[in-house]
């Protein structure tokens, strides 16, 4: 019987194939406990799993040595040693003994603790050893479930000419990296989210994937016919013939499109009449940066640094931030622009370490630059980190939520202080680093001509600009008709900002969702926007569309839309006058 399972769309595309169940590493989140009195038995179970893991490693080592693979065998000799390590195995035993952890949970937590400790060390080589510790603890956990290594990924390659759809509780990044796209058509995991590493790798490898599909994904049988709809986040089990035919057609279409888009990778972003712009990505982490680079972005137009602050009890140190900014720049290489937005906490993003008071109107409240100017200690740490990283790439600094010239001047004064500190400490940074502001408050848009004399650039943040201009909470689904950047009042502000900047020979970017929206691209190109920052997956389609547009023909369109009634009118006007949108 045909059934459907809904999950989170993690990696686009369609896959059709036979289910292969990977019963691996079922280490559920949270900790399970044993009953009082079971400690000794659990310890015995744990010790025999360790012994059996040791046996597996020794056999592996023998094979390697026989094959003359000395270098690799050393890695596994170190693994053997970890299996005797007091800090790892002893710590797991201790959790079973005195905290009554189930053996799997004890091993998992002890392994994670050691791995995290190594990962925090100031030595790249040692940080990578964290992966070895995780590998060892997983081997033990696998043994606790009476599984050996070959039950895992290798077995899944068995299916002959048909592709396999992998089902698992969760996949580690290295599992995902090992997946061979010629054999594995797609995967579905019960756990995970869109930003889990396996999802990120799936996107970069181009394997359709659905994560967070829940329990349902674990009740599939080996060999069942499966369709993975990575666009809708849907798993179809034993689909009907007509569904199968429909997805086969979709699959072919998608393959054609991909091949077409691929030719725009690594190419400049140029319109049909030779006008060049920059197509860059919005990112929140170093991983995002790497992925964006692979997906054809020319750099970063918005690094949402607040993600470095979120999901942790303390504040990130200067050193941690420095590393993140430097590594993001290195993902793109020298010269590529990387716009770092100073932290935008508040609004919809809370931060436990700051203990912000609950507000009635958080989007109109104490957030972003308003917090930073009030807490210069916090702000300076970030400014120093960005400056230091500017010695390693083309970093630019951007202040969010600027409403007044005074705020901008205060922010630059603090930036100057941070520079002065670094100079006196003889720490290198780019003296010519550009500093600009986000235009997301109508007040700043209105004063763009005055700001333009002082800043190096603007970046228009349309998500907030729309909600502040239309007085419509963007989180409120009932107000969807107002939350549209194509409304002429918003377009007029954007036009005004671009003109003001160009008059002072400053560049203007846009980092809201609007920048990656096909229907908006002709308007923005016509207005003369210089930089478009969007989610990485939108970059190649935007470059393809751009290559078909003639900028010279769009100036009149951009003017005409400013005079229309509302967003709907703008949308149909653009669709009617820009036939290239349909290609």
């Amino acid at each position: 019987m045909a059934t459907k399972i809904k999950g989170i769309a993690a990696s686009e595309g369609y896959a059709i194939g036979r289910a292969v169940i990977l019963r691996e590493e079922v280490v559920p989140e949270g900790i399970s406990y044993i009953e009082a009195g079971e400690e000794a038995a659990e310890l015995t179970r744990f010790d025999s799993a360790v012994a059996s893991a040791r046996g597996e490693l020794e056999a592996l080592l023998d094979r390697m040595k026989a094959d003359g693979r000395e270098k690799e065998s050393e890695i596994f000799e170190a693994h053997l040693m970890l299996l005797e390590d007091e800090e790892l195995i002893g710590a797991a035993q201790e959790r079973i003994r005195s905290q009554r952890y189930k053996a799997e949970a004890a091993m998992n937590e002890a392994g994670e603790e050691v791995a995290d400790m190594l990962a925090a060390l100031d030595d790249e080589y040692l940080r990578e050893r964290a992966a070895d510790v995780r590998d060892v603890s997983r081997r033990v956990i696998r043994k606790l479930g009476n599984r050996s290594e070959s039950d895992g990924l290798q077995a899944s390659s068995a299916a002959a000419n048909e592709k396999s759809i992998l089902f698992a509780f969760d996949l580690t990044p290295s599992d995902t990296a090992q997946l061979d796209p010629s054999v594995i058509g797609g995967f579905v995991t019960a756990a995970g989210g869109r930003t889990s590493h396996s999802a990120i790798i799936a996107r970069s490898v181009g394997i359709p994937a659905i994560v967070g599909a829940g329990e349902g994904a674990l009740h599939i049988e080996n060999g069942q016919l499966i369709i993975v709809d990575g666009a809708a986040g849907l798993v179809l089990v034993d689909p009907k013939d007509e569904e199968l035919a429909r997805y086969q057609a979709l699959q072919q279409q998608a393959a054609g499109k991909r091949a077409l888009l691929d030719q725009y990778r690594g190419q400049p972003s140029v319109s049909a009449d030779g006008h060049q712009v920059e197509l860059v990505a919005n990112i929140g982490s170093v991983q995002d940066a790497r992925q964006a680079q692979e997906l054809g972005a020319e750099g970063v137009g918005l690094f949402r640094t607040e993600f470095l602050y979120m999901g942790r009890p303390d504040l990130p140190t200067e050193e941690e931030q420095f590393k993140a900014y430097k590594e993001a720049a290195e993902a793109f290489g020298p010269g590529s622009p990387i716009v770092i937005r100073t932290m935008d906490i508040g609004g919809d993003k809370e931060l436990p370490s700051l203990q912000l008071e609950k507000e009635d109107n958080p989007f109109l409240g104490y957030r972003a630059i308003r917090i930073c100017l009030d807490r210069p200690d916090l702000f300076k740490t970030q400014l120093r980190a960005v400056l230091r990283a500017s010695a390693h790439g083309n970093l630019k600094i951007m202040f969010p939520m600027i409403a007044t010239l005074g705020e901008w001047r205060q922010a630059t004064a603090l930036l100057e202080q941070a520079k002065q500190e670094l100079r006196s400490e003889n720490i290198a940074f780019n003296e010519q680093i550009e500093a600009g502001i986000m235009i997301e408050i109508p007040a700043a848009a209105q004063m763009a001509d005055r700001f333009a004399r002082e800043v190096d650039f603007f970046s228009i943040g349309t998500n907030d600009l729309v909600q502040y201009t239309m007085a419509a909470d963007r989180m409120n689904p009932k107000l969807g008709y107002l939350s549209d950047p194509l409304h002429p009042p918003v377009l007029r502000l954007i036009d005004r900002v671009i003109r003001a900047a160009h008059k002072e020979n400053k560049w203007v970017g846009m980092c809201g969702e609007m920048a990656g929206t096909p229907v908006a691209l002709p308007i923005l190109l016509g207005m003369g926007l210089d930089e478009f920052s969007m989610s990485a997956s939108a970059v190649l389609p935007a470059r393809a569309l751009l290559s078909r547009l003639h900028r010279s023909k769009l100036a009149s369109l951009s003017e005409a839309v400013l005079d229309l009634d509302d967003a709907e009118a703008v949308r149909s006007y653009v669709e009617k006058h820009v036939p290239e949108l349909k290609d």
């Binding site: 040693m81 060390l121 100031d122 040692l126």
Partner: protein, 87 residues
């Protein structure tokens, strides 16, 4: 108790291979064997611990041991620390 200080000569510091040798050497001694660097003192019988002190070339590491064959263990660890073997 035996205690001696050594300067790390290995250009890549105490990485996997020397760390492994240090643990092996520490196990010569029946009792306790410690490494100390920059105020951090850890058991030399744990690979995790030995790695975690993050010793680099030219760092000074103090080795101390107590119990049977303490002297032999300290000397063996010293030999690893004072070897400029590249990986």
């Amino acid at each position: 108790m035996v205690e001696k200080s050594y300067v790390v000569l290995n250009p890549t510091g105490i990485h996997a291979r020397p760390a492994k040798k240090i643990v092996e050497a520490a196990k010569i001694c029946e009792g306790t064997v410690y490494l100390e660097k920059g105020g951090r003192k850890v058991s030399a019988k744990s690979l995790v611990n030995v790695l975690s002190i993050g010793a680099k070339q030219n760092d000074t590491v103090t080795v101390s041991a107590e119990g049977e064959k303490a002297e032999a263990a300290v000397d063996a660890i010293g030999a690893v620390l004072a070897t400029a073997e590249a990986e």
